[in-house]
Each structure stands twice: as C-alpha cells, then as structure tokens.
C-alpha cells in the first residue's frame, strides 16, 4: 500500500529511443513506433488489454498546433481506446495514469512521451513559458533563466562553478555505460572549467544537450503487475507541487515544491539506492539533492541524467524508467524518481519506487 492511493501500481516495462542530437530521418510517428512497441512487448500485457493510454508532448516543439495528434498513429488506436494527453512532460502523464488506475476500473496503462526539440530553438521556445507581460518581452532564454537560479544558488551555498563542473563531469562519466546517451566522456571538472561560459555561471557541459527521442513505460496494478513482471517496480508514493513562477518572488536557491512533493510522496527516509533527477542544468541537481533530502551516498543519475540525454517532454518519464529498470534487474531496491516542469524547477513531481 502506498503513501497515498488505494492500489499498488508498478512500472512493469520501459523503453526509450537510441537518443540522438538530431533525428533528421524520422518524423514523430516513426520515432515513437519502435519505442511503444518495445514497451508493450516487454510488459507482457497484450496491447488490446491495456486499459488506458496517455502521452505527454509540446506542440511548440513541432512548430504547429495539434502536433500531438500525430503521436496517436504510432499506438494503433483501433478499436477506439481510452486515451488522453497532457501538454507536459510524460512523467505527469504517468501521474494521470496512476490516478486512473486508482479509481479501480482499469488495471494497466501505456504512457509515452516524445519530442524533436532539435527542429526549433528549444531555449528560445521556452522563453514563452514566462510571464507574457513582464518577462517574455525581454526574451530571456531558458538558459538565462536557469543561470539566474544557478547564480543565486552558488551565492547562497558559498560555492563556485567548480561545484557545477563536478556534477557535469560525473554525469558524463556515468553516461559512458548508457547506450542511449548523447553526451558522455572522461573530462574532469578542471577540464570542463576551461570551457567558455554560455551564461554566467553555466557552461555548455552544465546545460542538457538538445536531444530528439521518445520514451514509454507500461504501468499495472497489483496482481496484473505480479503476473507479467518478475520484479515489479512499485510506486509506493507519488506527488507533485508547483511554485509561483516569478523568479523574483521565489527563494531561488532552493525548490520549495520539490521539497513538498518529496514529503508528500513519502520520500522522507533517506535510504535510497538510486535517484534519477530531472535536472536539466548542473545546479538543479545540487538544489534537488538538498530539497529532496538525499544522502550523499545515493547513486544520483547513474544513467547520466538529462545532462547525458534530454529528450524534451520524455526526460522526466525516462527518470522513472531508469529507476524502474534498475529495480527490475535487481541493481537497486529503492529509488527516487523526479520530474520537473517550468523555469527554474518551478514544478516538481516525486515518486518513491521500490522492488519487493
């Protein structure tokens, strides 16, 4: 039984693209097809038995309205299916699917996310998330907004860019064992510090790489999960919260909503084996470690995290998948999965995921 909710729900399968910086061959449908097929096949649940399908994506990535509709072609929605969509990272679609299973009239769900952020200028597109009256007219990019938080964090923590470079270097090293990574390497923090700043204090290595791709998970309730999965990754608690957006109103060196979501998800005990954090900038990992109360010895972003591959609109869901797959194969017993949305960690989703 979870911290909230009635039914035990587990992630029973996970699939993701071989991410690339730019996929100039496939359209969104073609990109999603193999990922959804793999997730469904691995789940052991026949496609027609899956009770609910939901996706997360952003029309603006594709440059037009209703582009999410095309994604449905990859799913095989015939006969008609129970299906929905959020204009948010697919991790929030997973949350909605979890809620749908809690109601009790269905036992499994397919959740997928996708995006080809290489087609446009992602950081400029995300400027449009900001207040349209007061902020967007000045055109600060997503990197500029993140940098303002990074500066505030370093000032408060009494740290400097070395702390960021250490996160970036560790991420690149971890990513070497991740076949889906776009960015990996051996660089040391010192070496990364010699690179030019993009926006004080952020360097290129501190900023998640532009990545095209898709990801999918299948979740299932109780006995269904036990039937199809040897070691289901149970979602023991899950919660999400949002802060005010205005950067000048918030305490930027911390993330109140991440802290709240973690507490509500039952992440208070600090005995996680692994934590996958949706940190799209180095400093976000540091802020989240603190806000989520992670012990220093937790294996954070063993996949390399978003700094290794950032398939925008799926990257949050990928965190869930990476934790789940480590539970499935026994590398971990208890993990924390985190997803975020909005500038400067405005909105945060946290889940505690465990194997039996």
């Amino acid at each position: 039984m979870g911290a909230n909710g009635i039914r035990d729900v587990a992630i029973v399968s996970f699939a993701q693209s071989r991410y690339v910086a730019r996929d100039d061959r496939h359209n969104e449908v073609e990109m999603i097809i193999p990922v959804v097929r793999e997730a469904v096949e691995r789940s052991g649940i026949p496609k027609e038995k899956i009770g609910f399908t939901i996706s997360g994506s952003c029309d603006y990535l594709s440059g037009g309205p209703f582009t999410f509709v095309a994604g449905l072609d990859a799913v095989g929605a015939w006969p008609p299916i129970r299906e929905s969509h959020v204009e948010m990272d697919a991790a929030f679609a997973l949350y909605e699917a979890w809620v749908a299973i809690q109601v009790g009239d269905l036992d499994s769900a397919l959740v997928y996310g996708f995006g080809k952020s290489s087609m446009g200028d992602l950081h400029r597109i995300l400027t449009l998330q900001a207040d349209p009256y007061y902020v967007a007219p000045l055109w600060p990019s997503a990197v500029h907004l993140a940098a303002l938080q990074a500066q505030a964090y370093l000032a408060e923590a009494g740290a400097d860019a070395r702390a960021l470079a250490e996160v970036a270097a560790r991420s690149q090293r971890s990513a070497r064992s991740n076949p889906n990574a776009v960015r990996s390497g051996d660089a040391t923090a010192e070496e990364l510090l010699t690179e030019p700043e993009i926006a004080t204090p952020l360097r290129a290595a501190d900023i998640a790489p532009i990545t095209d791709g898709a990801a999918a998970v299948v979740i299932a309730a109780g006995d269904v999960a036990r039937d199809v999965c040897e070691r289901p990754a149970w979602i023991r608690g899950i919660d999400h919260r949002i802060d005010s957006q205005a950067l000048g109103v918030r305490q930027l060196h911390t993330s109140r909503s991440a802290r709240q979501a973690a507490a509500n998800a039952g992440a208070g005990r600090d005995d996680f084996d692994v934590a996958e954090l949706h940190a799209q900038f180095s400093h976000e990992e540091l802020i989240l470690r603190d806000a989520l109360g992670l012990a220093p010895d937790v294996d954070v972003n063993p996949s390399g995290g978003p700094l290794a591959a950032n398939p925008f609109m799926s990257a949050g869901l990928v965190r869930f998948g990476e934790v789940a797959s480590r539970i499935h194969d026994g590398r971990a017993d208890r993990g924390l999965a985190h997803a975020a949305s909005g500038p400067a960690l405005q909105q945060n989703l946290v889940a505690v995921v465990e194997g039996d």
Partner: protein, 328 residues
Amino acid sequence: MSEALVEHHVLEYPGGYTRSVGPVIGRFLTALRDGRLEGVRIADGRVLVPPTEYDPVTGAEVGEWVEVGPTGRVRSWTWVARPDPDLHPLGHPFAFALVQPEGADTAMLHVVDAGSPDAMAIGMLVGPRYRAERVGSVRDLEAWVPLADGEHVAVVPPLAVPEGGEAPTGPVGGIVSRVRLEYDINAGEAPSRFLHGLEQRRILGEHSRTSDEVYVPPRGSDAKTGLPTEIEVEVGPRGTVTTFCVVNIPGLSELAPEVPYVCAQVLLDGAHTPLFALLGECDAGDVRMGMRVEAVWADEVGPDQRSIRWFRPTGEPDADPSTFEAYL
C-alpha cells in the same frame, strides 16, 4: 532510401499577439510609460513588483499601490555575451538580472547595462535608464545601470512622440507581442518517400506487412495497428470524389485559389484513405459525390505536395457508391 526532406518553417502570428492587460498590469505599464515604477502592497505588508492582480496569499484583489525605486539592488544576474539584436533590449553584451527596487519586497526580471561581467555583483546598486520612446511596456525601461553610492539616477527623458503622432495619455490597455520562431522540420521517412514519388509524377501509398490497406499520403504507420508502413504501392492517378465542399472564403492562405473553389476528399484507385485535394477544370456546380477525377501535375514538380496541381474530372461515369461509401 529516399533522401530525408527538411523544410524551413516560420511560426509567427502576423503583427504580433495583441494582449489586453487589465487594470493592474495596465497601471504598472502606464507608470513605466511615465518613467516611474509602482508596486502593490498585499495583506501581509509585502510590496510586490511587478504587481500581481491579486494577493497571491489570500487571493483577494489588490488595492494599495506604492511607488518604488527609482534605485534598485541586483539579487542575481547572468551575462549575455552574444545578444540577439532582433529580440533583446540591447544590441551589445548585457546582463539579465533580478532587480529589487527600493521599497519593494520582490525583484523584477530585467536587464543591466554594465559594460562587462566584471562590473556585475549581487547586491550592487543600480538605477533606471528609460527610453525616450515609451509605449507602456517593460521595455520602456531600457536597462538598469550601475550606480555609485550618492550618484544620481538618470533623468527620465521627455516622452518622445512618433512623427505626426500624439502623446498617448490614457491608461495602457494592452501590449503587442511579436513572437517569431523558426524551425527546420523534417518530413520523416514515409512522407519523404511519398514526396519523392510526386517528384517522379507517381503517387505512392504504403501499407504495413500485416495489412493491405494502403495509406495515402503515408505518415509512417498503419494507424490501426501502430505498425510501420513498409510496403510501397503506386496508386491513382485516377480516383473518386467521396465528398467535397465549395469554399467561398477568399484569402485563407497565399495558396488558396480564387473563390469559389472545391475541396474534395479523393479516394485514389488502389488507396484506402482519401486525399484532401483541390479540384480544378470544372465548375463547382458540376461536382458530385462519386465523380471520377485524375491528378493533374504541375508544370514543375518537386518533392512536395504542390506537384499535384489539382484533380480534374476524367469524364468517366460516376463510381458506384459501393466503391467509396465505406471511405467517407
């Protein structure tokens, strides 16, 4: 394997978004046009700049306005070494910063014109530099500039009136936001194969390995099953009008022909999904469901859907309803 097709795409609402601002945001912007900064005091005593229309704690409407500034303190900053002259308020390097005006309890996101990142520091004192041409926008404040202790704030220039125009006097009711985004969109493999086919004056549909239902134009999947469409089938160039409408609205796009024009769903021979297409070389009044048509190629063909100019009647007897009614 077809060469993957990529096309440049601009997403821009012509003229910009016209955003009405309401009375609270409007009052703030009106003050900016006057060269002043105002904030609102909320129930817990804090002064918020920029103002929200409501108390974020209690939800109540805000009522008490407070003049703030003119100076401010930098709470955070980042250097923009390569500004975009089309977008950013300044064409030379500058800092984005959170600036807390004197008397306010929050900071506003804005720009500091400091000359160099070495001149930036958290906590530094800054003063406003207003443009002469002010319209009621956050950009009326051109930038904040470093201020030495005791140094006076720059005088607000008199409001510059555009030539032949009048000084705006009433409260600011709205802003115009130009938003232009550019993309390089790639077609995808199945659509690329289809478009290269058009370049050869062939209409190529596709179906999956497990079904012989031919999709035209193919988008990459058999939508019923989610399987990729891997098998090419040439269809048409003749087909049947399943249904249609007569469009009388001029100017829907640069490419819309002169009105009236007929848009039809055309089920090409061999295809199982209809194409949405323009009909030509016929009077709107003569078009009917079941009419037989054929593709007319453009004089110049290329890998895009403009290669088919339109569909024209073939003169064959109308198709039997049983051949197309299931495809409506």
